[in-house]
């Protein structure tokens, strides 16, 4: 049986400020990544930070070198994305209950991706097929269905770092591990505790988290916690 998941927020919605911040503030911050004076020092980033540059490198689509433009367009529409995406695209912060509602066309595209994933030898929509923005759309869409997400994660890992956004692979793996009853390994998943406060979902080996996050192009752990509005664990 597959479990239905809530829609993984878009890049704009992923910018989650400390609990008191409003959604409007979050969107404003995305458009202008300049650190805001009232944010805590550890909750800011610069375009020159390594993880931001790494994402910018992957999501640079200036060469327009994807092969299936119609599929790309359909994927972007189904995920509610507009290309080009500006780095940082994924902050690796997913708070349970803060998911947005999927666009109307998402369900049909999830069904199409499920069929594709089940077809042996089929071409998975990787960067060279649908562009970097297309791969991010795929990551968002597959997160709606656990069974599809599992198959997609395998395809994305198999395709390698040049074809799959490592930051999305990491976020998806964390999300699935929690669904499977295991602990997350990157620290991208948050929940609300009994007192309503945002807290980090169970995680293993947090002492090496920043090594893994650097490898995946995620921001430092401290920044992730800050953005989720979570207390330090």
């Amino acid at each position: 049986m597959t479990m239905r998941l809530r829609f993984l927020p878009t890049c704009a919605a992923l910018v989650v400020l400390p609990a008191a911040a409003t959604n409007a503030q979050a969107k404003k911050t995305t458009r202008n990544p300049t650190p805001r004076a009232k944010l805590a020092a550890e909750c800011t980033w610069k375009p020159t930070d390594g993880w931001v540059k790494r994402q910018a490198e992957f999501f640079d689509e200036s060469k327009h070198d994807w092969t299936n433009d119609s599929l790309r367009t359909a994927l972007l529409a189904a995920a509610g994305l507009t290309a080009p995406l500006k780095a940082p695209v994924n902050f690796g912060v997913h708070v349970e209950g803060r998911d947005s509602t999927p666009p109307a066309g998402a369900a049909a595209m999830v069904a199409a991706l499920t069929k594709l994933a089940a077809t042996r030898g089929s071409t998975w929509p990787t960067k060279s097929v649908v562009g970097a923005a297309g791969t991010h759309a795929v990551s968002m869409l597959v997160s709606l269905d656990t069974g599809l997400a599992r198959a997609a994660l395998h395809r994305m890992m198999e395709a390698g770092p040049a074809e799959s956004p490592a930051v999305d692979v990491a976020t998806l793996e964390d999300r699935l591990r929690l669904v499977w009853g295991r602990k997350q390994i990157y620290g991208t998943q948050f929940r609300r505790g009994p007192d309503g406060k945002v807290e980090l979902a169970p995680m293993e080996d947090s002492s090496h988290a920043d090594l893994r996050r650097e490898d995946a192009g995620l921001p430092p752990f401290k920044l992730g916690l800050c953005m989720a509005g979570a207390g330090k664990s």
Partner: protein, 260 residues
């Protein structure tokens, strides 16, 4: 005490193994290959490869890193061998590959280099202290640190002068132990242990193999994983193995060669 020595002759694609009794007489009677002449006799005792005198931040001295970025690092104050997948680049052998291959295989290193390049997705570091492992046990402790695509820790063995080898490895993204062969630039799945074994990152575990003739057994944390009959007896160098962007710490590499 007589000792059985297996001499392998490579004739095109056909491999002929000849067993002799009495190593001393062979050395004077037959024109041995350069590798056989250079081979150190296998001690019949457990060798624990100590990294204590190695320098953190440098490449290991006890192992020859041929693919990947292998460095000595500290874990709880002790030196460990770290494969750093963060700097993994597709198809890149380790720096100084030609020199390292020459050190391991003398003049006959061209085939070795070509094969290693073909397998460049798979970081390997060859143990320098034993030229030929045929029978016995090899064990290593490992700790998975990370890797977005892979989290693999393996024992490398049967490393031939042409770059072919075998590995028994644990994969933390698949939770399984698998035996793979690498021959003539082709990686082939051989046998998967039936028990899926999820391991937590940041925890130490032990992978062990035993080889007796063509019989291969493996264990993960003392749990039996493989009991498999190989196509050929094992004869070659040994070491540690990993895959693409894996970040793994290795420690306590031990080898116990036996005569049978």
């Amino acid at each position: 005490m007589s000792r059985t020595v297996s001499l392998t002759l490579e004739l095109s694609v056909m491999r002929i193994s000849i067993a002799f009794v009495g190593a001393a007489s062979i050395a004077t009677t037959f024109p041995l290959s350069l590798d056989a002449q250079r081979a150190k006799p296998a001690p019949e005792k457990t060798t624990h490869v100590s990294l204590a005198s190695e320098t953190a931040g440098r490449e290991p001295k006890a192992f020859a890193p041929l693919v990947g970025s292998w460095v000595i690092t500290k874990d709880a104050g002790n030196n460990v061998l770290f494969i750093d997948g963060r700097v993994w680049k597709r198809g890149q052998p380790a720096g100084g590959l030609a020199d390292k291959a020459r050190e391991l295989y003398g003049a006959r290193n061209e085939d070795f280099i070509e094969s290693i390049k073909a397998f460049a997705y798979y970081p390997i570091a060859v143990y320098k202290g034993l030229d030929n492992f045929e029978n016995g046990e090899i064990a290593v402790r490992f700790q998975m640190i990370g890797g977005t695509l892979d989290r693999c820790a393996g024992i490398l063995f049967d490393v031939k002068p042409n770059g072919d080898y075998l590995t028994v490895r644990y994969n933390g993204t698949e939770d399984n132990v698998v035996l793979w062969t690498f021959n003539n630039g082709v990686r082939k799945f051989v046998n998967r242990a039936t028990t899926p074994t999820p391991l937590e990152l940041g925890t130490w575990h032990t992978l062990k193999i035993s080889v007796h003739g063509t019989q291969l057994k493996s264990w993960l944390d003392d749990q039996p994983m493989h009991d498999y009959t190989l196509a050929h007896p094992v004869s070659g160098k040994i070491g540690v193995w990993s895959k693409t962007d894996s970040m793994i710490e290795f420690a306590d590499f031990t080898v116990t060669p036996t005569s049978k």
